[in-house]
Subunit: 409 residues, 3 copies
């Protein structure tokens, strides 16, 4: 278990503190200082007028009382209760990527930089109690978004809608709440990983985020093009895995929008962990964020490995009644919008090998909805008895970099 | 939590007592007093002869021993073990309603009176230990039922089949057990909410009831027309919500058989809670009985809110291992026949607003399988920043009546 | 609960001991005694050369050190960690059966003898800690397997792939791991029911096994033809039911590949428990291993009975928070590859009768995806009030043989 404070990329894994935040980026300072509801309306109007773009940054460290009341009203509409100030900020870019090499479909991606955008987008990690501000920059060409639109009355933009954590209507990422980003614009979304308390069930879990606007009011074309990613919210004390992979099961028999050989592009000699290369050394704790997207039902199955059907994928502690009650499974149904976590120790009891990971709907797997978890031995090698018959798998996989982590941050 | 005895409509929320019941309505007094199995047969024959109609009411307060043996035999066939006498009685009417305004389909409904029949039917509430006798009156015209029948050999009638609670074959509501109601007839169904004990898992849960006869042996046309409703069985000590809504996810992208604007008919000025108007004030505990009907798979998703994947939708108590094990979710797959409960505090952490509630299958939501949970502020108002762009939603919703409860009883 | 050591057929229900095993059947003795990895390669080559057939049996009781190292390397590839020696061995035969009487489809089956092969195959039972060696003999004619193949490049053979328990790549039953059996060949698969410990979640659960090779790399044609069966792994202390039935819900609205009258062939006078005759006496504990196969989603529903959504189908012990949290259900969604267990006491509270068991997808049940659990009274009789209207059900069912158990072993 990793209890240290870690800063990997932009993720701070320590519980957030009430650190001073003199110049918060998401506060709106208003010229009109009339108190009360009319002003709140004005705030909204202002935001509407700037085209749902990035919230204006207000400087200054102190405000007169009337202004502070206005700020408070605006803030309560922007920030979920419990989030006084964001503990962390991220920039996120929505960009157009090269078209799908197989289907020639339009591909979009989220990235922490425009250059690193991918589908799925970067895996986000939060810890309960943390408040995260993400500024989304829409760099997708307007023409592309128009092409994905089926209804000319529907606005053109991208958004960020998240599952599981807390956010106000202003961070909902929907058209009706006017919380999306037109081409060239930016907007800050605030997520709060509300902690578990005596009166709150908390938000720790395996979640995901996605566009809710591209092409229609439910973001169907955004999802189909690649605008989604995984989010894991950990609870204090949760075991942190060595590797985290996102596997989004979707339409047209795809895993992360690819199928057949495209779903497993591992280099046999030097496999690099990523969305299309699931690799681990024996003994490493591997975590999957499994997401359902699109229109179809699927089932997530891994050969040789199983997990507990719990929040963490594990059964912990000495509570025998609990341990005896919880199902251990190796196949789980998921529908669109569902997300869950799977954790296990790679190769535990079963050894290294090319372990299939596929949808168990037969026509789905037959059509290529199947990939491989490559479990290497202690030396980072794939033993020869693991078979060399499988296409596109490492015969003699080199060691994966120790400590490699697929979370892109 | 409400531990008081309450009688709301016909629902008694106190645990049932062994109250004296000198003239039970569901006992059959027989003329033939021959003891043993042959007599049991006679009982059955009698019931069959009267057309599976309402059981004859027997007067009198005492019976000779032989007659009592017969009564006991008949009673054991009628009443589930543990139900000595019903604690409560309801009249339920199956009627024909105006055709669907959009599709022109036949619409049927259950109601506690013929005038208040609706689809879904009245939400039933029981408490573990309670025994409920429901007399169903079939007021649907025979011609309508014949029209819904695809096989002329199939009998014409309606029935009441329930999930989760206990009942004998005589309350199964199926054709093969001859427990349905022909046009113009009546029949008493007995449900027992068996309590949890050391040897019984109990029946507390989120259930539903439906016709099992209209159109065919599985009641497919009854379900399609509207003959279904929600049932919640509470356990002693369960938290009782401020509002209970039923959302049945069904074929042709419908919620409660409606889609698009038909699924959300809230008056923006004075929203009245009901099957097509999901509204709550911030801080109110809202409960959904989610039901799958028909042929299709769906996923139930709410924006901004989440719940624990447990019997009650909550994680309770200080059991850390348990609390840490239970998944918190905001999207759940359901197939036909499934039912589960969702509970959360409206607007908790996220504030008021027009929170979408939809199937996350993209083509389902795109075709209109989407509605809105309107969360008003403390004053029963919808703040303007919540957006006015959504069709058919209150811009300035008036306060919902305090204490309003959608359970129709 | 049955804590005694029982040997029913080939199943030993006591926890396995480290019994001496002087001539293990699954060890490979090599002529080449060069130590290290090159030799491991040779082992694999040898296995490959003999066509993935039955492992050669090596005699002798002691080996020189170098040879022992080789044996150890080979063994670790064959046996999952924790399985020192198999506790039990079974012979399993894959054979061709008469074609389906209704659809004329090819039917294959697994059997403990060629003469007793069936679909589903024999129900396997293990106890955590046990290691099982199953030698599969492929007696299906090559011509039949060729007929089921859509791709001439795909090898002809059958295999044994199992869910939930532990096995190495050599027991994976897949083409790419070369762990299948060509026509006329044999191969030993080793399954280890890893026990629950402080660091292992264990493997107790309701699982299944199936072919993964016939017709294509996912065994779609093997599954469709009948090459599957149930597996239950029990934990020490688990309650053992009186009867175990397998109900595989699959394509074309089938239960165990049959529908309508074919799914319920119970003799009304003398019902014999089996895959197409679900019968129990009131008070007997009945267990279902429910399996999803094929392409479609289904829901498993039983009338009058419910179960806890846990590993065992029960809520045990005095942990109130746990008991209150666990959902009790009577309808459960399952997708292909899913498997779960259902346990309840037949007729508990509801009495004897013809209790429907069906998929609740309406068009599935309407097309015949429905059967009956016949619950007889204490005397093994079906009371007359239970109705005689249902086709193909016992009007006066004779007593099922006491102690009958549907596990075929």
């Amino acid at each position: 278990m990793d209890k240290d404070t870690k800063d990997i990329g932009e993720v701070v894994l320590s519980p957030p503190t009430d650190r001073p935040d003199p110049q918060p980026a998401w506060r709106v300072r208003l010229l009109d200082t009339t108190a009360g509801r009319a002003v709140t309306v004005a705030v909204i109007m202002l935001i509407t007028l700037v085209g749902a773009g990035r919230l204006a940054v207000a400087g200054g460290t102190t405000s007169p009382p009337a202004e502070r009341a206005v700020e408070a009203a605006a803030a309560s509409a922007e920030r979920p209760a419990g989030c006084v100030t964001p503990d962390r900020r991220l920039q996120l870019y929505a960009v157009e990527l090269p078209r799908d090499p197989v289907t020639n479909q339009i591909r979009l991606g989220y990235g922490l930089t425009p250059q690193t955008a991918s589908y799925p987008g970067p895996t986000m990690e939060m810890i309960e109690g943390e408040c995260l501000a993400i500024t989304l920059h829409n760099q997708v060409p307007a023409a592309t978004l128009e092409q994905l639109r089926t209804d000319a009355a529907h606005p053109v933009g991208v958004s960020l809608h998240v599952h599981g954590v807390k956010y106000t209507q202003m961070s909902d990422g929907t058209v009706h709440s006017n919380s999306f980003v037109p081409p060239g614009g930016s907007r800050t979304y605030i997520w709060f990983a509300k902690p578990r308390t005596a009166t709150s069930q908390g938000t720790a879990g395996y979640w995901w985020y996605h566009d809710h606007v591209v092409g229609g009011p439910h973001g169907t074309q955004g999802l189909r093009s690649g605008l989604f990613g995984g989010l894991v919210v950990r609870r204090q004390g949760d075991l942190r895995p060595h590797r985290t992979y996102v596997t989004a099961f979707g339409d047209r028999q795809t895993i992360n929008l690819r199928r057949s050989a495209e779903a497993d592009t591992c280099d046999p000699v030097n496999p690099q962990p990523g969305p299309t290369c699931l690799v681990a050394k024996i003994g490493e704790r591997v975590e999957f964020i499994v997401i359902g997207i699109g229109d179809d039902m699927h089932t997530f199955h891994v050969h040789g490995h199983s997990w507990a059907d719990t929040r963490t994928g594990m059964v912990e502690g000495g509570n025998k009644a609990l341990a005896d009650s919880i199902p251990v499974i190796d196949n789980k149904t998921l529908g669109p919008g569902d997300s869950f976590g799977v954790q296990f120790v790679a190769g535990d009891s079963v050894g290294p090998g090319h372990w299939m990971l596929h949808c168990h709907m037969q026509f789905h797997s037959d059509l290529g909805m199947s990939t491989t978890l490559h479990v290497l031995d202690e030396n980072g090698q794939m033993p020869p008895h693991a078979g060399g018959h499988h296409p596109a798998v490492p015969a003699q996989g080199a060691a994966a970099p120790a400590g490699a982590h697929t979370n892109h941050r």
